[in-house]
Symmetry: C2
Subunit: 296 residues, 2 copies
């Protein structure tokens, strides 16, 4: 793998490039200095390296190495974004294999959670623990594409800050205040060496994959019961993009899964509640290696 | 219907008999004096009228009429207990129809929650709102009969108080203290006109039905998505009899369902947390008539 330099905070993490066996050059950043199993983060619809809240990455990186990356065709990575979750998952596996670290912990957010499920099912040997944030299982009914007001907002060529806030945060005073803080950290705090923006090709291909994932197919729901590693499912209680009911469904279908729903929070619950969520993830990642998941 | 006398508390509620069109004489009690839609309670495995915590019934009856009853063949009701949930549900429907009140709210607890689902699916016109406590959908994998330590405890001819406490309450100090209080209210507080005990025939037939309900059948899970009235799903976080994951599953499969998991609580969570649970049920029953369920 390429030389990586772990840093103490995400805002200062260098943009690095890792060339994988599939010929793709993956843009990525590393935060934290632990030698333990790294946590690899799988990003949301149209997101790049800068769309991870630095406060969340820093909180997660206190106990471990955190690796963020752009998948094939996304932002500064080379290639073209594929239009199925299955191919995106294979591309993510190639990146993880190129890290040459053996197994990793995975944190998938939104469509990243779809990839995380795919990876856990197709290459379980590289996944130690799985965190599914704002997640849904393939085939669940009622999620064929985002809701009209959601895709109208985040699917347009140039979404505005208001579009972002409306999907990622609730309309309450606390939700909007959190949104302003998160937006400041994501869009304003890093002033040099920002990632490349994601393209319209990425937007179209990712949304093709979203619509394919959401085609209702009850029998397809059964496959996540084969996920065999410890799983933590988390969402905001008011997520308009991926409804909490799909988190319930995942936690009901995956044996032993833990579930937590965060209050007064929408799609960006993990940024809004970054300290609490990072602490919960830390308990999950450090605890489940030694003991059975005890909550069920 | 037979004359019913609403009373202010469950311990003083009279044992009454209602003869239904199916020829069964149903033992039942009524608490609370409201003229509004009554709440009908569906009891757990081997339970009779006395196995409802009077503190819970009284809390629920503050805002409405609460009706408890013994189903066909159970305790003081006439007839023989059938060995399928479907037939038990039809027997419960006959009791509800005999009340001549039109639609009711239903609170099903444990196997009572199985009947509540059946009733909602087979006779939706009589169900306004549905509360599913310690519930599971038919066909979910991993629930073919209670866990060995659970059926060993509550399935024996004469379960002891310790057997009851071990399944209905957690082993924590708070859990066991709550259990002692609940057991005192259920087994000791009513000294006259107690209900008849349930028979070994009832135990065998009900457990046949439990084992039939728990035969794994993924495709069967889809049917609860047809439940069309507002639903509140609730359980303890440490229920050994019906694991919380089945509550997640129900809340994920039933459109718009609300979900709440109560802390440090096992099968008897609704008795242990009777004030909080009754308040949550009250908010659910009084709120959902006028507005859409907003949590999803």
């Amino acid at each position: 793998m390429s030389e990586t330099t772990a840093t103490a905070n995400y805002l200062d993490a260098e943009n690095e490039v890792l060339s994988a066996a599939n010929g793709v050059d993956y843009a990525h950043r590393t935060t934290g200095a632990s030698d333990a199993t790294p946590l690899v983060m799988l990003q949301h619809f149209r997101g790049n390296l800068d769309n991870w809240d630095p406060a969340l990455v820093d909180a997660l990186a206190r106990g471990r190495r955190v690796i963020t990356f752009d998948n094939r065709g996304v932002a500064a990575s080379s290639g073209t974004t594929p239009n199925t979750m299955a191919q995106m998952a294979l591309d993510a596996i190639d990146f993880i294999e190129a890290l040459e670290v053996g197994e990793v912990d995975l944190l998938g957010f939104s469509i990243g959670s779809f990839l995380a499920q795919e990876i856990a099912l197709v290459r379980p040997s590289i996944v130690r623990n799985l965190v599914l944030a704002s997640a849904a299982p393939q085939g669940a009914s009622g999620m064929h594409g985002w809701a009209p007001e959601v895709i109208d907002a985040v699917g347009k060529p140039e979404p505005s800050p208001a579009d972002y806030l409306g999907v990622f945060f609730t309309g309450s005073e606390a939700g909007q205040a959190a949104g302003q803080q998160v937006a400041g950290r994501i869009f304003g705090a890093r002033t040099v060496d920002r990632d490349a923006p994601t393209t319209w090709q990425t937007r179209l291909a990712q949304y093709d994959a979203v619509c394919a994932w959401g085609q209702p197919n009850h029998s397809m729901l059964e496959r996540v019961s084969a996920i065999c590693m410890p799983v933590f499912v988390a969402n905001g209680d008011s997520d308009p993009m991926i409804l909490p009911r799909y988190s319930y469904l995942l936690a009901g279908l995956i044996p032993g899964a833990r579930l937590k729903i965060y209050p007064d929070a929408a799609h960006g619950f993990l940024f809004q509640h970054h300290a609490e969520f990072a602490a919960d993830v830390d308990v999950f990642l450090t605890g489940v290696s030694d003991e059975e998941v005890s909550s069920q």
